[in-house]
Point group: C2
Chain length 132, copies 2
DNA sequence: ATCATCAATGTAATAACATCACATCGACCT
DNA sequence: AGGTCGATGTGATGTTATTACATTGATGAT
């Protein structure tokens, strides 16, 4: 696994902002927050994000075109990740479910489909927002 | 359930193109294919797609910003749908898995999360493309 | 030392995806 | 006729992502 000190300057800056933010951010929000650190162009953000995702430190939320810092410990490799995304407050919960993973891998096997990436995103309203 | 004759002109045109196409199309591909039917602006496509998705006749593939006609029979309501998307040929397989659905609904219940929409997309390479 | 290489970076331009704002039309109802 | 409502037409704009090309900086080989 990659450690923080192995990240480049831009990667560290992007991860820093994501880690200190509750909820997901779009690439352009990240860019705005990093302008005073010298960021000028979207590509600087996208390149950093690509590497961070490769390292497993950041996840992309496909259904909202945004990015979050991974909340799992980085000591072990994890499998398929599912997200619960609150459409009201933006909160994101990340979890793994071995049964779900097994079922999806089962389908892949049955259909001779070589799986490279799985996206599971649940949109809705979180407990806090329901209570409010 | 909505029947074909209840669709508006634009909705029918969009569904027609999607139904006669193998694989997903982007909104702008649809627009291009519908220019000679009088389509001029993206909004005409997006509006039709919104309705068709509401009717359950079309699905949006979040991870590739594209749309496919639903391949299920329309006689019954189906639950959570998962997609297998071949990154090589674009082929899309649509399926339901009751166990997966149950697990995800279980998580939602446990976390008092009111689920409104679930996205499951598996990216990879299909059997045909692996054989080639 | 100097040269080759390769990853990371900087920058501008452009492509791809999606929505807003506002006007119009047509069906239906009263 | 007048009112309402969903669908439509149209231009402008907003948002997300990539292409293309130049530069920098570290590493290793000759």
């Amino acid at each position: 696994m990659v450690h923080a000190q192995e990240l480049t300057k831009n990667q560290s800056l992007v991860l820093d902002v994501l880690s200190h933010t509750e909820g997901p951010l779009s690439a352009y929000s990240l860019l705005d927050q990093l302008r005073d650190k010298g960021f000028r162009a979207p590509l600087q953000v996208y390149r950093a994000l690509d590497k961070l995702m490769e390292f497993g430190l950041v996840h992309r939320l496909e259904s909202i075109n945004s990015f979050v810092a991974c909340t799992h410990s980085h000591d072990h490799k994890h499998g398929v990740i599912a997200f619960g995304i609150c459409d009201t407050c933006g909160r994101v919960d990340e979890f793994c479910d071995a049964v779900v993973e097994e079922r999806l891998k089962g389908w892949s096997k049955d259909h001779a489909f070589r799986l490279s990436k799985t996206t599971i995103e649940m949109r809705g309203t979180c407990a806090n927002c329901l209570a409010a």
